[in-house]
């Protein structure tokens, strides 16, 4: 079976689904990109959406051993790829 992948933004990532970070949208300001890199959001890094609190609250993502909360505005600028069998 050949594994296909689907690219989406981080906000679209379903809960408890693992994805691989493929990059950032060009519109993302440099300083936020830098901060995300400092947090460990590197290309090729595995990311899991751990929680999606209700009412549009920022979502919780696990990157390596740490968890971070990103709001919609920022998560839309992070591109991930999900394996689809």
């Amino acid at each position: 079976m050949v594994a296909e992948s689907q690219t989406m933004n981080l906000w679209e990532l379903p809960t408890r689904t693992e994805a691989v970070l493929v990059g950032f949208a060009p519109a993302l300001a440099e300083r936020y990109r830098g901060r995300l890199l400092e947090f460990g959001f590197h290309t090729g890094e595995r990311i899991v959406c751990q929680h999606q609190p209700g009412f549009g609250a920022p979502r919780v993502y696990r990157v390596s051993n740490a968890t971070y909360s990103l709001d919609r505005e920022l998560a839309l600028q992070v591109l991930v790829s999900v394996a689809r069998e």
């Binding site: 400092e38 609250a57 740490a66 971070y68």
Partner: protein, 616 residues
């Protein structure tokens, strides 16, 4: 005297280490951004060395005000000849988030010829789960010694002190390594290389923390759930305010009884005259009325300390982000605003961690409206006068606690409304996105929190007590003379009070309350002491009656009591807060405008309240 710099990423436990090494008791909490200024203290076992605690930062390239301050000071300190050693703290349970900054620091230190030691903190948490990092391998990879330590248990700290004592400059290279200084350049490719290096090192030498994250994830599922998250947030806030009354009530009763007992025992020994009158009116009625509230300050600080240490506050910031954004604020505004419930001054400092200048400005506007502990004695007094000490729901909810919850809610709502109105009517840059590290949950360390609460209560007594004592003496002298307390209305205080009475008459308050309100502009708590002194002179009884009973006997109308509550909820009456606001916002104009605007708003809202109560 040489200096040792303590740096690290936010929430890596720097300040807890600082407290351990210096024996001091600076503020610590379990969320990022608690240290916003430099702290200094001598090492307790090596007093010839001064330890400097820096605010946490993720990188030497700052994106917020707090980080800019940390990085600027760090850059200057590295060039200072008296800086002998740099201690870089990393979170051993989450190496990835700390190593990028750590590599930057090690590189800067090597470039400037400074000795550096990496402290992998929270080793006790790893040990508890049978995990460990490869400190030796990590040291080889980083190019600096790595010691596994625990600020909580003290593990590894003797080795740190030994290093500082024996070879404080031995690690420094005599000839600085000619690497380009990160602080002076903006090289993306160099950053990329460091990111990759940090990532590799963490993967190779760090501990897999799946087990730790599993526990965190389970708790988050509850505390961040759509329904359970909102309910638990409301419940935690309700318990916070209920506890102020229910937990402190026995201690408050004991203090009140002790003051009354001491007065009844002591006064008969004093002969009739000025000394006896002063002791009864100014000391027992004035100062005593204020001391009754000290247990509440302790309980408030203790409960907030529990929340801070548990890791819950970062989750509360997340839950509140969306609603706060409606008012132009950010989820990160929640933590300074909650700190403002204890005291506005640390809350204003805490607002530095908000990256968005606009959200920070709006947070400054909201903080003085948060119901700080200085308002608590006034609220408690007025609630005790009008609300019976009864409970509902089988003793689970006290009416006094519930009323306090509503009064606190009033201050919070006012803060949000002011921020929202200013956000809509004034132009400004767009909001910045929200990103926040979520710290691990942990059981709060009760002893340090209790120690901090005692300190806060002591600070409340010493700082406000001095002002209250001075004002009480002045008020007593003005109220006692020229007729030796025979007729308060004809005293000097009565004369002054009647000049200002027209301002407060529309609120249904006579000149005695007017004088107490004016005196509260020095500090809000002074209101209680001043009123206690005035009632004491007027009462002229030998028994020291609690202030609540004296005000109840004076038949203060309910509408006026409510107007007083509303006035105190809004008015900005704290000189220290105004000065810190002016400094942090870099604008005296803003601070003065806020004082005037909040004063006018407080009076208008109080007048409206009185009118509505009178009509009903």
């Amino acid at each position: 005297m040489s200096r040792v710099l303590l740096v690290g990423t936010p929430n890596s436990g720097k300040t807890a280490l600082f407290n351990r090494l210096t024996g001091l008791n600076h503020r610590v909490a379990n969320y990022p951004g608690i240290t916003v200024d430099l702290s200094m203290g001598r090492l307790s076992t090596l007093p010839e060395h001064e330890l400097v605690d820096f605010p946490g930062t993720y990188s030497l390239r700052p994106i917020s005000e707090e980080e800019r301050i940390a990085v600027d000071h760090f850059a200057k300190a590295l060039d200072a000849p008296d800086v002998a050693h740099v201690l870089c703290v990393v979170d051993a349970t989450r190496l990835e988030k700390s190593l990028f900054f750590c590599l930057q620091v090690v590189r800067e230190c090597r470039q400037r010829g400074k000795a550096v030691t990496v402290l992998a903190n929270m080793g006790d948490i790893l040990a508890r789960h049978n995990l460990a990092i490869d400190a030796r391998g990590l040291a080889a990879g980083i190019g600096a010694p790595v010691l596994v330590v625990s600020a909580r248990t003290g593990e590894g700290l003797p080795e740190v002190l030994q290093r500082l004592a024996s070879g404080i400059t031995s690690e420094a290279s005599a000839d600085p390594i000619p690497e380009p200084a990160l602080l002076a350049q903006d090289d993306e490719s160099a950053d990329q290389a460091l990111y990759a290096e940090a990532h590799q090192l963490a993967e190779r030498f760090g501990a897999p923390a799946d087990q730790l994250l599993l526990i965190q994830s389970r708790l988050d599922r509850f505390f961040l759930g759509s329904l359970s998250g909102g309910l638990s947030f409301s419940l935690i806030m309700l318990v916070l305010f209920q506890s102020i009354f229910t937990w402190s009530a026995p201690a408050m009763d004991a203090v009140e009884a002790a003051i009354a007992g001491l007065g009844s025992w002591m006064l008969p020994f004093l002969s009739e005259g000025i000394v006896r009158d002063f002791t009864a009116d100014a000391i027992f009625s004035g100062i005593g009325a204020f001391l009754v509230f000290v247990p509440q300050i302790f309980v408030l600080t203790f409960v907030i300390g529990l929340l801070e240490d548990s890791g819950y506050l970062a989750r509360a910031a997340l839950i509140c982000h969306k609603p706060l954004r409606f008012f132009g604020l950010s989820g990160k505004s929640f933590i300074p605003m909650l700190s403002g419930v204890a005291c506005a001054i640390p809350a204003i400092y805490a607002a530095r961690s908000i990256e968005s200048p606009r959200a920070r400005f709006l947070t400054y506007l909201a903080i003085p409206l948060m119901p700080c502990s200085a308002r608590l004695p006034v609220y408690t007094l007025l609630i005790a006068i009008f609300i019976p000490r009864e409970t509902a729901l089988g003793g689970l909810v006290g009416w006094q606690g519930l009323t306090l919850f509503c009064v606190y809610g009033l201050g919070i709502v006012c803060g949000l409304v002011v921020a929202g109105v200013v956000n809509r009517v004034s132009a400004g840059e767009a909001q910045m996105p929200f990103m926040m590290e979520l710290p691990a949950y942990r059981l709060p360390a009760l002893i340090p929190i209790a120690r901090k609460s005692v300190q806060r209560a002591q600070h409340f007594v010493t700082k406000a007590g001095l002002v209250i004592l001075s004002v009480t003496v002045i008020v007593w002298v003005l109220g006692y003379f020229p007729n030796q307390g025979a007729d308060l209305g004809a005293s000097w205080l009565g004369t002054i009070g009647k000049w200002i009475e027209p301002v407060f008459q529309p609120l249904g308050l006579d000149w005695r309350y007017g004088v107490a309100i004016v005196s509260a502009f020095l500090a809000r708590e002074v209101f209680v002491g001043t009123l206690g002194t005035i009632m004491g002179i007027e009462g002229a009884e030998d028994n020291i009656l609690p202030l609540v009973e004296q005000v109840q006997a004076s038949a203060l109308p309910l509408g006026s009591g409510l107007a007083l509550l509303v006035f105190f909820a809004i008015a900005l009456q704290c000189i220290s807060t105004v000065a810190i606001l002016a400094r942090e916002a870099n604008s005296w104009r803003l601070a003065v405008r806020m004082v005037v605007a909040y004063l006018c708003l407080a009076w208008l809202a109080a007048w409206l309240t009185f009118q509505i109560a009178a009509a009903v």
